[in-house]
């Protein structure tokens, strides 16, 4: 009886996963979709704990350990997820993804250990081919995902710097080939448990080297890719236990994650291969080709002049970028917007799809500050409106407004759609310094005659702007 109920539990869970993902891809139903999937997950977990029977029909034991683990993981997970700042969301996702990968790798270790013990006992090492194959696959994918996610996490919070050396791609492939070779050997001769640890180490190293050279701006794409890896690793567990819910959940995420990765690349008008081995941000040699105005002249604008310019404008467009997120300046930005509104200035926001460190980053950030949804323009709409704007205020955005993407075929971001801020009458750029943006490329826009630079931390500058405007 119990087993039949468990089957139904798994069936329900699988359906909720599909429904949940479906609902997550629509803004109206997204939040409900997340809850639906979470409910399904709870059903599957509780069902497994109480109803699971192994081949011999015995219950699961060690329930104390299981609940202990669930409790510890649950408390830490909830706290971490609740405490994290909106700006650090992507790194949190990366961290949790790494945990899932590590979980899959640990399962493989334990299961192989069982097989190794059996072989030691019986002396027979045949008949394990399928099982060992899946164990090895789960181990490799899981640990690559774990190591890669940890590096991605470190890169996003700034503790790991881009790092690459000549021939790294070749060395990477070599490491992967050795790991796969060792795996293949182990599948045929499962009597060598130490090989499993060799594979584990190689996979971890591969994961690290795989993410290391990729620029920080591309981390969301990498995390999405590693996310689908973990999905496949979970599916390996599904094979191993002939567990349908792990299989459906894992493959579903593997497929959807891969497509999502490609969609993200498309939003930047680049190919996945270009992101993975390309030189966007990581390898500076490819980036220097497109600099035309290095060392050119830019002009600065004072706070009071900027305040004046905006107060007497008819329409101001704000272009937020990562600088705004880092400075946590969304609230003061909203205040500036209200203040200008009171003076009869129309204020809107132009949101580039990849502004910030994740798609939708700016929307989330500005929503947190209660900025009206209708004031946020998507790229195409914004590009139509720039020509009617008197002032464009760029807050810590760089690559998404770089004209090189439009007119310099040598630039690594060539082809990426950008916000055409130059159509406006004046452009004020707030940046901390003249340093290039995350992609590591010079921005011609800063040297154009229409552009004036307003240096400083976004929050500080906005605060000063607000008080200047008040004084007018």
């Amino acid at each position: 009886m119990g087993e039949y109920i468990l089957t139904v539990c798994y069936l329900i869970a699988s359906v909720t996963f599909i429904l949940g993902l479906k609902m997550l891809s629509n803004p109206v139903t997204a939040r409900k979709g997340n809850l639906v999937a979470a409910t399904g997950m709870t059903i599957a977990i509780l069902g497994t704990i109480f109803l699971y029977r192994d081949e011999t029909g015995t219950n699961l034991h060690n329930l104390g350990w299981i609940f202990g683990g669930l409790f510890i993981g649950g408390v830490i997970g909830t706290l971490a997820a609740k405490k994290v700042k909106m700006t650090s969301m992507p790194e949190m996702v990366s961290l949790f993804n790494g945990m899932g990968g590590a979980c899959a790798a640990l399962i493989s270790l334990v299961e192989f250990n069982h097989i190794a013990n059996e072989i030691l006992l019986t002396g027979i090492s045949t008949g394990y081919t399928g099982k060992v194959l899946i164990i090895v696959l789960g181990l490799i994918i899981g640990s690559v995902s774990f190591a890669g996610s940890m590096i991605a996490w470190g890169k996003l919070n700034g503790s790991v710097k881009d790092f690459s050396f000549p021939g790294q791609n070749i060395l990477n492939l070599l490491i992967l080939a050795v790991a796969l070779g060792a795996g293949a050997y182990l599948v045929i001769n499962p009597g060598h448990p130490f090989l499993l640890y060799v594979i584990l180490c190689l996979s971890l190293i591969y994961g690290i080297f795989f993410v290391m050279p990729i620029g920080g701006a591309d981390m969301p794409v990498v995390i999405s890719l590693l996310n689908s890896f973990t999905g496949v690793a979970a599916a390996c567990g599904g094979f191993l236990y002939n567990n349908k819910v792990m299989l459906t959940g894992g493959i579903l995420v593997g497929a959807a994650g891969t497509l999502l990765t490609i969609l993200m690349c498309k939003a930047m008008n680049r190919s996945l291969l270009n992101v993975l081995i390309g030189s966007f941000g990581g390898n500076k040699t490819g980036a220097t080709g497109g600099t035309t105005a290095q060392g050119g002249h830019y002009k600065e604008i004072s706070l009071s002049d900027s305040a004046m310019l905006m107060s007497y404008a008819n329409k101001v467009m704000i272009v937020p970028g990562y600088g705004l997120a880092v400075a946590q300046a969304q609230h003061i930005c909203h205040e500036l917007e209200k203040m200008l509104n009171d003076k009869g200035v129309e204020v809107k926001y132009a949101i580039h799809p990849v502004a910030g460190r994740m798609p939708g980053h700016m929307n989330v950030l500005l929503a947190e500050a209660d900025v009206n949804y209708e004031k946020l323009l998507e790229m195409d709409d914004a590009n139509d409106e720039f020509k009617t704007c008197d002032v464009v205020l760029i807050l810590g955005a760089n690559d998404v407004v770089n004209p090189a993407a439009k007119n310099d075929p040598a630039s690594p971001i060539y082809g990426m759609p950008i916000l055409e801020v130059e159509l406006a009458k004046n452009v004020i750029v707030n940046k901390r310094s003249m340093k290039p943006g995350y992609a590591g490329i010079e921005n011609d826009l800063f040297f154009r005659p229409k552009t004036s630079m307003l240096f400083g931390d976004a929050k500080k500058v906005l605060q000063d702007l607000v008080s200047e405007i008040k004084a007018i």
Binding site: L24, H61, G69, N227, L247
Partner: protein
Amino acid sequence: MENILHWISENQQIIYIVILMIFVGIEIIGRVPSVLHTPLMSGANAIHGVVIIGAIIVMGKAETDNYLALVLGFLAVILGTLNVVGGFVVTDRMLEMFKGKKKTNV
């Protein structure tokens, strides 16, 4: 050759699931707006936390004197739970922002 055919027919259920799920996975998120890319990634991240089921089975099957299995299994349960709980909570927090936005819209 016969081995492979035999393997296929023996595991046909699983193979069907894999193929169908690949299509379902691709189909259901095909039209997602770019604003939702990150929440969707995060939601999918939580769903692959289903690997926790494997960790629970490992843990539940471990003999009480097999310390390696116990320790690794226990760790796996913790990590898996982190993935599931953290994943769903983070996703919910992200989407909370969108909901607030809708409210001001109405």
